[in-house]
């Protein structure tokens, strides 16, 4: 099939009535310097931000206290602990992803963790138990079942 060079000529209104482009028929090679690409080393000239996915106030009986992060959703998550929480093994765990989880205490509650979460010395952290205190768990996914994590407790320093 011969390639057709369109050049800079714009299509006229209604000039294409019915057409279909087969898969891989068009290869876009001219990179736009202002477009992010997944397969290029690029330097951003302004800050890039990941949105923080709010998991809300976690409350209620034990059955509803399990927090399962969907790592496809975001890199950053936040929630308020208003019950004893279980951060279960996340879904869509892919090596190389990194981010953080902000946990705001709303009382004397505990946070337990699924087996994917790996903290230093194998000891999960004791999260803040005073309402208003904020802890942060930074994570890097090493493999599909291993998430390295570091908890920093009481980042506000006061409730």
């Amino acid at each position: 099939m011969a390639l057709t060079t369109l050049g800079n000529t714009a299509f006229g209104t209604s000039s294409v009535v019915s057409a279909a482009i087969k898969d891989n028929a068009v290869v876009y090679n001219k990179l736009d310097a202002n477009t992010a690409h997944t397969d290029r080393n690029q330097s951003f000239t302004v800050a890039q931000r990941g949105s923080i996915s709010s998991l809300g106030v976690r409350t209620g009986p034990a059955a509803t206290n399990t927090v399962t992060l969907d790592l496809n959703t975001s890199n950053y998550y936040s929630c308020t602990a208003n019950a004893n929480l279980l951060f279960a093994n996340p879904t869509n765990v892919t090596a190389g992803q990194a981010g953080a989880l902000f946990v705001t205490a709303n009382g004397s509650y505990t946070s337990s963790w699924g087996s994917y979460w790996r903290f230093a010395t194998g000891t999960v952290p004791t999260m803040s138990t005073v309402a208003g205190k904020v802890d942060r768990v930074d994570y890097v996914v090493q493999s599909s079942n291993t998430i390295h994590a570091v908890a920093t407790i009481d980042l506000l320093g006061t409730a």
Partner: protein, 208 residues
């Protein structure tokens, strides 16, 4: 303290809170203080109590234990028995029942509580007499005679030491031994009767 119970068996004892992993879930150490008893029971953590006989360890040693698991109450209680130590000396024997001998061919003897107590009595008596031994030596070498009060005191110490050893020999069991060293008091706190093994003669003024 807490115990981890699985299949009605105690598999671990936690004497202080610690982070732990149960069924693939990693829990922080503060679950022990924050979680309710029921929440801990749900993952197999029961309250743990050790019951030990509060007996005089001079006369009793800790014996075997028995464990009671109450799955309804979520408790584990371990009770230790108290075994009385040997009051009398024991001639040691080997696994064949033959006498154990020391390097001189003499029978190895493990002293019983009575012998140990009698040793203490002798040591105390010797200590009480020692402070006036110089007076006795001085008199024996032709010097000043031992003052009557001191001589009487020294005799009383020896008499008391002998009577204490007799009382120890006569003690029928550990409780009788304990009674020998127990001072009794009136309700107002005043001494009723000084313990037999503490009832030494009063030191005379000449020796104070």
């Amino acid at each position: 303290m807490w115990a981890m119970v699985k299949a009605n068996q105690v598999v671990a004892i936690y004497r202080r809170p610690k982070a732990l992993t149960i069924d693939g879930v990693q829990h922080p150490s503060n679950i022990f203080s924050v979680w309710s008893k029921e929440q801990k029971m749900a993952i197999g953590i029961y309250d743990y109590t050790e019951v030990r006989s509060n007996l005089n360890d001079k006369y009793y040693r800790q014996g075997s234990s028995s464990t009671a698991i109450d799955n309804d109450a979520g408790t584990v209680t371990v009770t230790y028995a108290a075994n009385a130590k040997n009051l009398d000396d024991v001639n040691e024997v080997d696994e064949n029942g033959d006498a154990v001998l020391d390097e001189n061919g003499d029978q190895v003897v493990t002293l019983g509580v009575k012998s140990l107590e009698k040793q203490k009595v002798k040591q105390i008596a010797a200590g009480l007499l020692q402070s006036s031994d110089w007076m006795v030596i001085r008199a024996a070498e032709g010097g000043t005679a031992v003052p009557d009060a001191v001589a009487t005191y020294r005799a009383a110490v020896r008499t008391k030491s002998n009577s204490m050893e007799t009382a120890i020999n006569d003690a029928a069991d550990a409780d009788a031994m304990i009674a020998l060293e127990t001072t009794t008091y009136h309700a107002n706190g005043a001494i009723d009767a000084v313990a037999t093994l503490q009832d030494w003669p009063t030191v005379p003024a000449a020796l104070r």
